[in-house]
């Protein structure tokens, strides 16, 4: 295969769809370090990118990989890396730097069993909280969790666009099942894919502020070599990018970092909600577990049991308001996760004591099956 097979229908792997999604989004630069179960992303791009004159490099580790794509992005390239648990841990340093310096990039973390080397070839959803809070200090986080191969493609394109729009790293987090499964995928036609190009300022050179405060909290970003000369530092900085410790400037920077996300939750929020209004039990899930939830819902429907499903596609920022509005009146919410309980705390936070929030944990490296969900639903009903 060469390039994106626009308009064609093919049997495609999740990781392959991520790589092709990156090409569809116009990726200019990839830097990575091999790790199961994400390696296919790097391998496919290693094959595809030189053919179209785009830059690809295997760095010496994951710290170097994310550092390189930050440099690449600042120099005007649409940049991405891909990794899994152990590499994701190493990338936290660079992730925080990119949040602080407001550099767009896409980080793909295909989740495997942890902690540490854990279960390299098997599925887990243990990085959900690390994706939110893994790097030190308060910081924004945008995290998308696909549940099928088509979404691997679509959400990769979306991740690039959101990164540009919000000038921040966007994390795409398929779990291992989604990264490695193969499904039929009909690719869109080229003209159907919307790609937001890297921004560029139009002000005179001497007026340019690298962190201009706009209504959205995000301003067009110049790139190194464009003639706009600016400074970038991970130190807390003023609107020109120079280090500051002035209280008002520090507070303004930190508020803007937070508010550029919280003021535009409508753009980021993306949920799949099925039959939640009129049901006996809600299954709250994401990633591969959503597939099992859909299957379980069908099985239970035959037994006249009404099951609703709430699935955040954007898991961070968490859909607080919608969850509160739709789920706080429910009797039982089942939260199946491939970990020992992470997102469940968010659901608990947003619901009253009268709502029973019931966990279902699986962390043995295998997926949660529809049968398991059926049994769990019958038990909580």
């Amino acid at each position: 295969m060469s390039g994106v097979p626009w308009g064609e229908t093919k049997l495609v792997q999740g990781n392959e769809a991520v790589a092709l999604g990156a090409l569809a989004a116009g990726i200019d630069f990839f830097a990575g370090y091999p790790i199961t179960p994400s390696t296919e992303v790097a391998e496919i791009l290693a094959r595809e990118m030189p053919v179209i004159g785009k830059k690809w490099i295997q760095m010496e580790d994951e710290i170097a990989s994310i550092s390189a794509i930050i440099g690449g992005s600042l120099a005007g390239g649409r940049s991405m890396t891909a990794t899994s648990g152990p590499g994701f841990s190493l990338m936290q340093e660079g992730l925080g730097y990119a949040c602080m310096t407001e550099v767009p990039l896409v980080l793909v973390n295909v989740m495997r069993g942890g902690p540490s080397t854990g279960l390299p070839t098997q599925v887990a959803q243990g990085d959900v909280m690390q994706a939110r809070w893994g790097t030190h200090g308060d910081h924004p986080a945008i995290v998308l969790a696909p549940s099928d191969v088509k979404e691997c493609f679509d959400l990769t394109v979306k991740a690039f666009n959101l990164a540009e729009e919000f000038r921040t790293p966007v994390i795409l987090m398929p779990d291992e099942v989604i990264g490695h499964m193969r499904e039929k995928l009909t690719f869109p036609k080229e003209e159907e894919v919307c790609v937001i190009p890297p921004s560029s300022p139009d002000v005179p050179l001497e007026w340019y502020e690298h962190y201009h405060t706009s209504a959205t909290g995000v301003s067009p970003m110049a790139h190194f070599g464009s003639g706009y000369r600016f400074h970038v530092t991970g130190l807390t900085h003023d609107t020109h990018g120079f280090p500051t410790r002035k209280v008002d400037e520090v507070v303004s920077k930190m508020n803007r970092l937070k508010q550029k996300i919280t003021r535009r939750l409508d753009v980021l929020e993306n949920n799949m909600i099925h039959d939640v209004e009129n049901c006996d039990v809600v299954i709250f899930c994401y990633g591969s577990v959503y597939r099992s939830a859909l299957a379980a819902q069908k099985i239970l429907a035959k037994q006249r049991k009404k099951v609703g499903i709430f699935r955040p596609v954007t898991i961070w920022p968490f859909p607080d308001r919608t969850v509160k509005e739709m789920l706080d009146s429910k009797e039982v919410i089942l939260v199946p996760e491939l970990n020992q309980g992470q997102i469940i705390h968010e659901v608990e936070r947003l619901t009253s004591d009268s709502v029973r929030v019931v966990p279902l944990h699986r962390f043995d490296g295998y997926e949660i099956t529809p049968e398991q969900l059926v049994a769990a639903v019958l038990e909580v009903m």
């Binding site: 690449g72 390239g77 070599g225 130190l235």
Partner: protein, 278 residues
């Protein structure tokens, strides 16, 4: 107007960012002067230059110069620089790092930047300790020296920055110091003039920490130590071993013309493209 001032206004963020953070007598500012003079003599356009650094006293340099400037995380200057260079090969990338930055936390990155012959010029200010954090030992602290974390003397052997980068494959490797500053200007100019990975180690005093801990006197004394304890490679070759014993050799040790990474990558793209067309 004194002759120095045009440099100040052309190359420094003179009105905005001074006074600087460096202590009186620190050697880092002299290295910054050398870099600016070298760039001036090359006539480079400021818009084309990217100065990238890590974290440390040395790595504060980018804030003062009016290029494209990128102050990154501790040890990672070369990784950020690699990405910037690949995304925009027109950038002339200059990485400024401390001895701790480049040899300890960034040791892996410099080995691989050397091996790849990545098209970056690395200027390493070697002050034999971690200046910024208050004078702890670094991989270039000489055996026996006192620092705040070697109160009884350094027991670990030290790294030779030049030998290490030469062995790892750098195209150009030189060592100068801030006393022999005209020589240093020339080395940096030569480093900036070629392709591939290019290293200049600049020995510089940190009177505040290393100097004080090792009773090396004030900044002037420390400059005199550089004068007395270093020797140019050409002079050294004429003297007997005993006469050069204990002296640090300055000079250009490696000046190869191996093909740099970016050119190799372009060749790869051309090759695969012609294969695909077939």
């Amino acid at each position: 107007m004194p002759a120095r001032l045009p440099y100040a206004y052309k190359y420094l963020r003179a009105k905005k960012k001074f006074p600087h953070v460096w202590c009186p007598g620190c050697g880092i500012g002299i290295v910054m002067g050398s870099i600016i003079r070298a760039i001036d003599s090359l006539g480079w356009d400021l818009d084309d230059i990217l100065m990238v650094s890590g974290i440390g006293c040395t790595s504060r340099m980018p804030v003062y110069v009016d290029f494209n400037t990128l102050h990154t995380t501790h040890g990672r200057a070369l990784a950020f620089g690699t990405g910037a260079k690949m995304a925009n090969p027109k950038l002339k990338v200059l990485a400024v790092m401390g001895d701790g930055d480049s040899m300890a936390i960034g040791g892996n990155h410099i080995i691989h930047a050397s091996r790849r012959n990545m098209d970056i010029t690395a200027i390493i200010v070697n002050n034999n300790n971690y200046g910024m954090t208050g004078g702890q030992f670094s991989p270039t602290t000489p055996q026996g020296a006192k620092t705040s974390t070697t109160p009884y003397g350094m027991i670990e052997p030290d790294f030779d920055i030049c030998k290490l980068t030469e062995a790892a494959g750098a195209n150009f490797v030189a060592r100068g110091d801030v006393y022999h500053v005209i020589e240093l200007d020339g080395m940096i100019k030569k480093a900036l003039s070629g392709s591939g990975f290019r290293v200049v180690e600049a020995l510089a005093p940190c009177p505040t920490n290393f100097g004080r801990a090792n009773r090396q006197g004030d900044a002037v004394n420390m400059m005199e130590l550089l004068k007395d304890n270093t020797i140019n490679i050409a002079q050294a070759s004429k003297l007997s071993k005993e006469k050069t014993e204990g002296k640090t050799v300055r000079g250009i040790f490696v000046d190869r013309d191996e093909i740099g990474y970016l050119e190799r990558y372009e060749e790869l793209c051309d090759r695969v493209l012609s294969e695909v067309k077939k």
